[in-house]
């Protein structure tokens, strides 16, 4: 898995590619935590390059989402493959995190 993050205006965009599982998920969580520790509150994650997400990946997302929620921030997602989308739907994550077709539309909706 690879995480490339940058600041775009008030939003931090994070592009995730590869597989997000028990091995790689902590990397995502750490990348997000670094921005949050610097005071950033709005994170938009581009999942268009994500091939697979396991429950460990979901847990990393949930952890990050909870942290941001306590700080009044937001975590939104864009550009999911059908499989990742299905996982989001089944796990109910789609109900608690805003999910968009692409990062652009996610940023536009902000």
């Amino acid at each position: 898995m690879e995480c490339v993050s940058q600041k775009q205006g008030q939003t931090i965009t994070i592009k995730v590619t590869g597989r997000m599982d028990a091995v790689t998920a902590p990397g995502f969580e750490k990348a997000c935590a670094e921005w949050i520790d610097r005071g950033e509150k709005d994170l938009a994650v581009d999942l268009s390059g994500l091939e697979y997400i396991s429950s460990a990946g979901l847990r990393a997302i949930l952890g990050t989402g909870k942290t941001l929620k306590t700080r009044g921030g937001s975590l939104i997602f864009g550009g999911m493959s059908p499989m990742v989308r299905e996982v989001f739907e089944i796990s109910g994550f789609a109900a608690i995190f805003p999910v968009y077709d692409s990062l652009e539309s996610a940023l536009a909706a902000r």
């Binding site: 697979y52 429950s55 979901l58 949930l62 909870k66 089944i90 796990s91 109910g92 994550f93 109900a95």
Partner: protein, 651 residues
Amino acid sequence: MTPASAPSRERGLAFRMALFILTSTTLLFGIAFGYNYVYSRDLVLKHVRENATHLTESLVGRIEARLLSVEQMPRHLALQLDNRNVTRHNLLAMIASLVAGSRDVFGSTVAFEPYAMEPGVRHYAPYVYRDRGGGVVTTQLGGAHYNYFIWDWYSIPRHLNRPVWSEPYFDEGGGNILMATYSHPFYEVSTGRPVFRGVVTADVSLEELRLAIGAVSLYRSGYAFLISRTGQFLAHPEARRIMRDSIFSLAEELALPALRRVGRQMIRGQEGFFSFSDARGEPFFLYFAPVPATGWAVGVVIPERELYADISALNRTVLLIGAAGFSLLSLVVVFISRSITRPLKSLVGATTEIARGNLDVTLPRMAVKDEVGQLSRSVDEMRLALKEYIHHLTETTRARERIESELKIARSIQMSFLPKRFPPFPERHEFDIFAVLEPAKEVGGDLYDFFFLDDTHLFFSIGDVSDKGVPAALFMAVTKTLMKGIAEQRIEPSEVLKRVNGELCQGNDSSMFVTLFCAVLDLRNGRLRYSNAGHNPPLLLRLGHEPQWMALPPGLVLGGMEEAVYQTRELILSPGDRLLLYTDGVTEAMDASATLYAEARLLDQARAAGPGGTEALVTQVLESVRRFSAGAPQSDDITMLALTYRGPGTS
């Protein structure tokens, strides 16, 4: 490696060093020794030739000097008699003075031609000689019984018209001494042409010559000899050969044809150097030279062995020195190579010990700072590093074993929570249930459960904690316990999930969550009410229909957010309908190339399994998953729960 070279390769460094150094040294020594031997031999041979030549020449000189001094007197007398008539008295006095003139002259005569001394006297030859007592005696030679005109001593000078030495002979009457007679002719020359009148003779003793030559000694057994014109020995260290043997009879006796050739050269008056072996194979050198005055020849014989005796002695010494040097060198080489290999050997011993696993072995202390010393220090460092590493590894292994054994205990505690006895309710025939939890290596967080809420309502559930390890196992235990407690309050499945979620969210800082599907089946009519918290949709296998995924209400995983809400849905199962609940350990099982087993395969496998018992269904799917992921390690728990509704009233 060829067999021939094997031994030297198997032997130690010391052996090879010694072999190479000593072999090359021996070779060098051998070359030097050989050259020295040949060169010194040549040198000695040259000296010997020179010595033999000088000796022979001096011998010849001595003989000639002696003979010439003897020749003087008859020649002088002959000159006095030329053209002169002397009285008998005067003649006798002249002869007597000749005899007295030299100790070597034994006797002398003046023999006249017939009637040359006095008319009417045919034989006239007064002979003066020394008798045994030392006195001088006079006698007349010639007469009817002794016609001296035909004797060699008279006729040969007469015919040759020059003085002649006779062949040597033993004089029987004169005390067995070796003699030779010198005859000098004299003439009447007043008439113009010289007319032979007679000869003057001197019988000369050769004893002193014989003794002088016989006494010549060269080296230890070298000697000189003298032969006459016919090859007869005149002087030889072996007295019995004198005048009895000739060089030719000796050649015959010794079976040495070469000696005969030499003899011929000698009597021909040649000079030469010759090498031959006697009957015993003993090699000799022979140098020979002529005595021109008499036609005799002198030979000097030197045994070769004695010639080279000095060289042999020298060679022995050189060889001895060489052998001593070789021994010394051997010792030095052995000492040096030992000093190199001894520490190496002890090092080899130590490293062998290390290789065997004994890391406490003490390495030999090396005082030297050479390569061997460096090697020893490196090996010691390696030993210490190895020891530390193994110590560390042992510690780590021990710690890991402890953790693993604790995990194993945790795992067995976890598994003990789950109902594992099948069939669980053998008295109930309305349904058939079977479940399996195939744990991954690590402690996982899968769970399943089923129990009666009352006589007609069966509660069942399946879930998957988002993490692994002991925390997940604890989380799973908490979830299961909570769920059972709450479900027994006879509330809707969605309400069960909501309450369990509420409890799990309390103080859940680690964002751990559990996906859960739960349902209540009314065994009287097949009514199934169910709810879902983020779990994978179960497979619905209606009798006589294609398998299909159950439609699930949306619902967030448990432990995620306190505010999460869940819905209850309902469907009616007909007798023979089946449900297959599973965790993502099934659909996300991977093969060696990280391909997922995936829902499609699960669907196919469920279809292929056909109608049958729950245990058969679960077992077949499980085997299919195992086949799929053959060789790849199982990373997650694989859990399945299958339920068949048989319908009411079958009891």
